[in-house]
Every structure is written in C-alpha cells, then in structure tokens.
C-alpha cells in the first residue's frame, strides 16, 4: 500500500472530480440521523457522521430487486441483466467496509451471485476514519481496522487526511482529481497517534473468549427464553445489519398473466415462517429459537465456514431494537451467564 497526504480544504475538489465520472453516494443528514444518499454538492457530504440508519449493503444487495423477467408459456427467461452504473461510495467507516468483505464471502464465493457481483465490481470505495460512539463494539472483532476492501481510505488528522491507496484505480482517481503530497515522518506519527487515540476511546472491551464453543455449551440455557420473551420478531435487527444477507424469492405476474418478474427481497430469520416447510412443519416456531439462531449463525455458523464472526460491531441492531436486545448483552450473558 502507498500513502499520500491531502489537505482537508481539498476535499471538495476530490468529490467534485469523482462526480464528473461517477454517481457519488455518501453519508448525508436525514432528520437527526444519517443515511447513505446521492451527493450532488460536496457540501452535503457529512464525513463526521456517527453511523447511518441503513448500512451500505443496500447499494449492492437492494431491499427489493428484480432477478429476471420471464415468459410463462415456455418457462423462458426474457432478461436477467443487472444494471450497475459506475458509482463511488464515499465515506465508509471501517466496520461497514468489513461488513462488505463478509458479504463478499457469501455472494462472491462458490456460486457467484451475478447481481451483487456486478454492483460490487462497479463501485469504488472511499473509506473514512471514525470516532467510536457508545454503541460501537467493532474493537471486539478487530473490525475497527480495515486493510483491504477499499480503493482509497482517508484517516482524519484534523487539518489533513492521511490517505491510504489500495488500488490502481484509487491511485489514478486521486491523481486526476486532487492535489496531494508525499507523506513525511510527521504525518506517519500523527497517523499513529490518531490510531492510538481511536483505540483508546471505546467505552468497553468485550470479552469474547471461546464464544463459538459457549454457544453450543449453553445452547439450552434459559437466557434464550428470556431474550425470546422480550423479542418482538420485528426483524429490524436484520434490516439494519451490514452482514445479514438472507432473502426471500417471489414471482410476480404482469396483468396479462403471460410474463412476469422473479424478485428477491430481504428476509429475516426472526420471522416465524422463515423455517416453515410444507405440511405445517416449522423448525423454529418459538421466538427464543429464532433469537438464538441469529446469534448462533453469526457467531458460529458463518465462522465455521469463513473463520470470522458475521458481525462488525456497528451497533445498528442495538439502536434499532425496540426490546433493547444487543449483541453486547448477548455476548456478556454467554460469557458470564444470565441476561441483565
């Protein structure tokens, strides 16, 4: 990786330059929160945001998406093309970049998902450093740092950015659109001290020792019933999660009944019909079993395949949950026993 330094006053040049070539999407204010939205004017970009309501997964794996158009008579696909215009996703935090890397394992591993892949390959990622909030726990999984998965990464040093350049395209874009200079020792030192300060500003260190094993050892613990009693099965946790990828598939016929569309939509393992099969059988009827499954899959199922937990510690589910169930509470309950 190589590095450059960019004055913060140059930021609008970079954003404007990128907008000449790409659709630029980044954090913008919405009421008192933030969302990833289209950037028309560099002034709209809110790089000091805490976290967005929805993670950037919506740009790669939309809440609803057409997979193919079909003809009924001969059961033929008429069109299964994906529209994925060139896009820059500007201002992504390390947790969310890591979230995309975790999604890549699923969608771009065996049986590549052409829809996700097309968008992923047509999107330039510009990351930005952040300040932990009181719901952030990315430090528990090491997802507070990111070493790949971006083209350019901006670490805020107050008056300037320490710019990490990961890809050829990132280097070219930087070169084309903004004035930067070589790094000096003072810049590297400032970068290190910013990183140290960042690491020191988390409100807690979560103990995650032997978590996958504890999930099995405490599979029958009453803690799951307590959590199940509180959970409303609303699925908000999956919606706002940067790593939840489950979906449902539905066919929709046009009024002429001759053609139609096969679509997929975000789904959630918290919904009662998620594991239901024909003849009235359902493998996870109780809310307790569904809450448990969400954690079991994230912290053991996924890990058994990809050696990482399927959580980046962004804290969105904790903020979204009306029953105030949070992964931190679940991890602590597993580690020490009992729910608060």
């Amino acid at each position: 990786m190589f590095f450059r330094v960019m004055d913060q006053s140059r930021l609008p040049d970079l954003v404007r330059g990128l907008a000449e070539e790409f659709e630029v999407v980044g954090p913008v204010a919405k009421d008192d929160r933030y969302v990833f939205g289209r950037i028309e004017d560099p002034a709209d970009l809110e790089l000091h945001y805490d976290t967005t309501l929805l993670p950037p997964k919506k740009l790669f794996f939309p809440p609803e998406e057409r997979m193919m158009r079909f003809r009924v008579a001969d059961n033929e696909v008429v069109d299964d093309e994906v529209y994925a215009g060139p896009r820059v996703l500007f201002g992504v935090h390390p947790c969310d970049i890591n979230g995309l890397l975790l999604m890549d394992n699923v969608f771009m591993g065996d049986f590549e998902d052409p829809y996700y892949k097309a968008r992923r390959e047509n999107t330039v990622i510009v990351g930005v450093s952040c300040t932990p909030t009181d719901t952030c726990f990315c430090n528990a999984w090491g997802t507070d740092e990111v070493h790949w998965g971006f083209d350019i990464f901006l670490t805020d040093l107050g008056d300037r950015y320490f710019v990490s350049v990961r890809s050829v395209l990132g280097a070219e874009l930087l070169d084309r659109h903004v004035e930067t200079r070589e790094i000096g020792d003072a810049d590297t030192e400032a970068f290190q001290s910013a990183s140290r300060k960042f690491k020191g500003s988390f409100t807690e260190e979560l103990d995650t020792s032997q978590l996958p094993l504890l999930l099995d050892a405490k599979f029958d613990s009453p803690m799951w019933d307590e959590l199940g009693d509180r959970c409303l099965s609303c699925g908000a946790c999956s919606t706002v999660c940067p790593t939840c990828y489950c979906f449902d598939v539905v066919d929709r016929l046009e009024p002429d009944q001759k053609t139609g569309m096969r679509e997929r939509r975000w789904d959630s393992c918290q919904f009662v019909e998620f594991a239901a099969v024909a003849h009235g059988e359902n493998f996870r009827v109780s809310r307790a079993s569904r809450v448990k499954y969400r954690y079991y899959h994230k912290q053991w199922g996924y890990l058994s395949k990809f050696e990482r937990v399927l959580c980046v510690g962004c804290g969105r589910c904790e903020r979204a949950c009306l029953a105030k169930i949070s992964p931190r509470e679940v991890v602590k309950a597993l580690e020490t026993g009992g729910v608060q």
Binding site: M67, M68, F70, R71, V72, D74, N75, E76, V77, D80, V106, F107, D110, F111, E112, D113, P114, D216, F219, Y245, C246, F247, D248, V249, V250, D251, L253, Q257, G260, R262, R264, D267, C269, F274, A275, A276, V277, A278, H279, E281, F283, R284, S289, Y293, Y296, H297, W300, G301, S304
Partner: protein
C-alpha cells in the same frame, strides 16, 4: 460435474434451464413421477449428479421447490422427479401435462458417499416420500450390483395406496440379490407384506455392522427411532447417513433459509452422516 464446467450455471446460478416433461406416471393420489429432459443439448449432455443431490424445480409465475433426483446417475439424457403435491409449486407441477416446459437448476448439495459405500453391505431405510431420494441410490446400486455386498431395503408407508414404486418392488421381492421388506401402518385386504412401523422390521434382518453402510430418509420423526435400532445393531455413527429436508429458496448457500445447526442443508447437505448430524443443533 463441477459448476464451472457449465456455462449457464457459471453465468447465473439462479437461472433455470427450460426442461421438457417427457412422461408423467401417477404413482398415488398425491404423488407423480415426472421424467424430464433439459432442452439445451450442451447443458443436458454435461448434466451429472450424485444420488442424494437435488434440483430446484422452477415454474415461472409460481416459484421454485427443491426436489431430490429419483433416477440413477447412470441414466443419461433424462432425470426423474417423484413429487408429492404439497402446495403452490408442487401443485402447479401436478397440473402440467406431458410435453409442457418447466425449469430446473442444479444439481445442488452433497449426495450419498457412494464411493465409500462400495465394497460394503448396504442397509437402506425409507419412510413415506423418503423413498424419492433413496430411489436414486437404489437404482445406482442395482446398476452396479457387483460393487456392493449384501443389500437390504426397508420401506414403510402409511397404507398400501401410499406405497410408491410398488410395481418395481413387487418384482424385486423375488430376487435373491436384494432383501426387500415392505411394511404399512394400516393394511387392507390386498396387502400381503408386513404391518407396523418400519422400526419393527429390524427384528427380521441380520446386519454385519462392521461391514455395513446405511442411509435413512423419511419424515423427521422417523430418524431417531430408526437410528436407535441401528445403534442397537452396533452400527457406527459415521456409517449411518441421513437426508434432511429444510425450507429452501436459493439452493446455493445464499438465502439463509435452510440453516440447520451451524450449516446449510443446501450446500453442506442434504445428506449428512449421523455423526455430523449429532453435531448439528436441533437437527434430529
């Protein structure tokens, strides 16, 4: 067959291949056997599968359903699906006629460990529709009979009218290279075979547990009881194989619906050894 060899699959694994229904046999009131032929020559000629694998059967406008392949892998050019009418998609298939076009994607999942089974005795236990995936294995063993030792098949259904493939099994009963025992929960006057649940048949068979591989397929309630009988006969947990049914949408490890314990039924199964299944929470 590896996925990459197949152009269509590599391009879009969600895209079903148009497939013609070439024959339909009514097996019972609710089950039919469909013989299918993939229309594209190249796709058809490169289609290979292991017994125990499944396809996603696709009817545009209605949806998709995972269905085990019932025919033997050695049968080229055609595949057979034995389908029970259980809801929307399977119902739509049942209303199709010979010559109609549907779609299939696949084959998906991990089938039975046929290479491991070769050179051993085999015990196959089916309950109800569980005979559908086992039928592929039975046909394969039949085609390569000299590769296997003693072959025992136990098959239970609710009543005589629900016994699938009876025409074939009635013929086999007279062969001495297969021990085939059929049973029904409730007999009628036409029934000359056993009566009672399938586990009762274990008293009637001899198994050399050190030489035997077994496969079980049936409704979820059946597994525990059958496995208990096998364990009593001294069979090892890693030589007993089970096939699971879970809800599925994608068949390729993406949609998340088929989770069983820490694995996905569609890519890690649907066939698991009992040892693996013991390590899957809430599996059996």
């Amino acid at each position: 067959m590896t996925a990459s060899k197949n152009q269509h699959l590599a391009a879009n694994p969600y895209r079903p291949w148009p497939t013609r229904i070439t024959s339909i046999v009514d097996l019972t009131e609710n089950e039919k056997l469909f013989e299918l032929r993939i229309i594209d020559d190249e796709v058809r000629d490169t289609f290979r599968f292991d017994s125990g694998q499944f396809v996603e059967m696709s009817i545009f406008g209605v949806g998709e359903a995972p269905i085990s392949i019932s025919s033997a892998p050695s049968k080229r050019g055609f595949i057979e699906l034995c389908v029970r009418k259980a809801g929307d998609v399977t119902g739509a298939l049942h209303s199709k006629r010979c010559g109609d076009i549907i779609g299939i994607r696949g084959p998906f999942g991990r089938g039975f460990p046929i290479q491991e089974m070769k050179g051993h005795d085999v015990l196959l236990v089916a309950g109800g529709l569980g005979i559908a995936p086992l039928k592929s294995l039975i046909n394969q063993i039949h085609d390569e009979r000299h590769e296997f030792g003693k072959v025992t098949i136990l098959y239970g259904a609710r009543n005589p009218s629900e016994v699938l493939f009876r025409y074939q099994f009635d013929m086999w009963k007279h062969r001495d290279d297969f021990e085939l025992i059929l049973t029904v929960d409730e007999a009628d006057d036409s029934w000359a075979d056993e009566v009672g649940v399938v586990t009762k048949l274990f008293d009637k068979i001899e198994i050399d547990s050190a030489r035997t591989y077994s496969a079980i397929c049936g409704p979820p309630v059946m597994y525990r009881f059958v496995i208990d009988e096998m364990r009593k006969k001294g069979m090892d947990v890693d030589r007993i194989f089970v096939s699971f049914e879970r809800r599925m949408k994608c068949g390729i490890g993406k949609c998340g619906h088929c989770g069983v314990g820490h694995q996905y039924t569609c890519i890690d199964g649907p066939v698991f050894s009992y040892w693996e299944a013991m390590n899957l929470q809430e599996a059996i």
